[in-house]
Symmetry: C2
Subunit: 237 residues, 2 copies
DNA sequence: ACCCTTGTGTAACGGTGGTTACCGAGCAGC
DNA sequence: GCTGCTCGGTAACCACCGTTACACAAGGGT
């Protein structure tokens, strides 16, 4: 049952469509496999394509003025991204890179225009999509501004395990320290030591190339400032 | 000519409306003056209101898990914000605070539903609005991640003077170091010394309670990493 | 079994920025 | 004028994190 139809049916954006409409859409959208680390979109060679993630994880990032990449979003199955200004979905200078071997649906701007633009059900979903994106960005921003690296790491690991509900409880996260460092905007070295700390406290276990989360709850508690001086400053007095 | 009608006509969101439609809208939206520092919205006591900035500047911020406020957006005249889930405009846990004495239009959720929701011209503008917001957040994020404090300061001062085109070239920025520190997520002390550096280089001039920008171009150059070691790392090699 | 690449662990050094603690300078009200 | 407040300036101290530089371990390919 791994056809494009199935791909689309998992996507929030198309939730309101009937089976027939979805099939029509699916017929036009080729499925593509990509390897881990592959760059899917770059501002250097912008393509007006809508990407729909069927399997795997994609990282959006920007290149700061110093040349340093900064992660702006972490996308999982069922989400869409791409440069299609017509429907308000924009990359805005971001790069896109597959974190794992992934599978995506591609949709041409012509089909987008034809099939999506006029449909109010879709535009409504696009709105929700953007709202969620804004919330995530704000979360990332506050994390960057006032969490320590171990806390950001815990937070990221938590979200990385969150959106994999299907099989057993906790599939290990298949990322190298280098890649994780990119996600939390830190160096590989500090990431390694911070992961070591988390492992010492029994929150995770480390293997080569993958990380097993042993306690998601404690991870979350730690991410929210679980071990800290009780300096609660409510805001202005 | 300072009636509500004029207020609405400056707002991007309503750009497509006819004069008559705008008048109808204006009749329902009371105008309100607020003092500098006043909190307009807090997640503690959420109100379903749409705010439209006529004059002044508003800062959106969140309270991190440490109790520390983090600026997520800086809004000027003509922009809208508020908690109106129906049209996809959400505060998402943000607080809103007036930076200067400001003037805003308020609109009730009922009127929003009645007058805005069904209009495709408006929903399209809302989309654009959100897209711009996302772009700004990503910009803030990369700034936070890979710019030094003086650079962030220069960047912020630049945007603060950008959107005041009307009168003479450069109206001074009327903010205390404390407030600026909030905008760039730093302490008052470091902000003071960083401002001192900028002043020494002749980019700005300092007075009590206000800052005059003498060279916007040099400010921008500095903000983009104007003085730095030429370590251009293009990304991966 | 060998090498060689890739991923991981660790430590010293320096820079940036938060913390704390004062002090002086402008300004308002009396 | 004096008093008291807010705003601005400065410095010592320390935590966090990036940089550099190695050492080693785990696999993969031959």
């Amino acid at each position: 049952m791994h056809d494009t139809h199935y791909c689309l049916s998992e996507v929030d954006l198309f939730r309101d469509l009937s089976r027939k409409e979805m099939a029509e859409l699916g017929a036009r959208a080729p499925l593509r496999d990509v390897a881990a680390g592959q760059v899917l979109y770059s501002p250097q060679r912008p393509t007006e394509t809508l990407f729909i993630i069927k399997r795997g994880r994609v990282r959006l990032f920007q290149i700061g003025s110093t040349g340093q990449p900064v992660t702006t979003a972490l996308l999982g199955p069922g989400t869409v991204f791409g440069e299609v200004p017509l429907i308000g979905i924009r990359m805005g200078g971001n790069w896109a890179e597959a974190l794992e071997p992934s599978q995506l649906c591609l949709m041409s701007p012509h089909d987008v225009r034809e099939l999506l633009l006029a449909d109010p059900r879709i535009t409504r979903r696009i709105n929700e999509h953007m709202t969620a994106h804004i919330a995530e960005l704000e979360h990332r921003l506050t994390d960057m501004a006032c969490k320590t690296l171990p806390e950001r790491l815990a937070s990221t690991l938590w979200t990385l395990t969150k959106a994999t509900p299907p099989k057993e409880a906790s599939e290990p996260v298949r990322l190298t320290h280098q890649q994780l460092a990119g996600l939390v905007n830190a160096t590989r070295e500090r990431t390694t030591t911070a992961l070591g700390d988390l492992a010492e406290n029994g929150l995770i276990r480390l293997h080569r190339g993958k990380i097993t989360v042993t306690s998601r709850e404690r991870l979350l508690i730690f991410a929210e400032g679980g071990g800290r001086s009780p300096t609660d400053v409510p805001y202005r007095q």
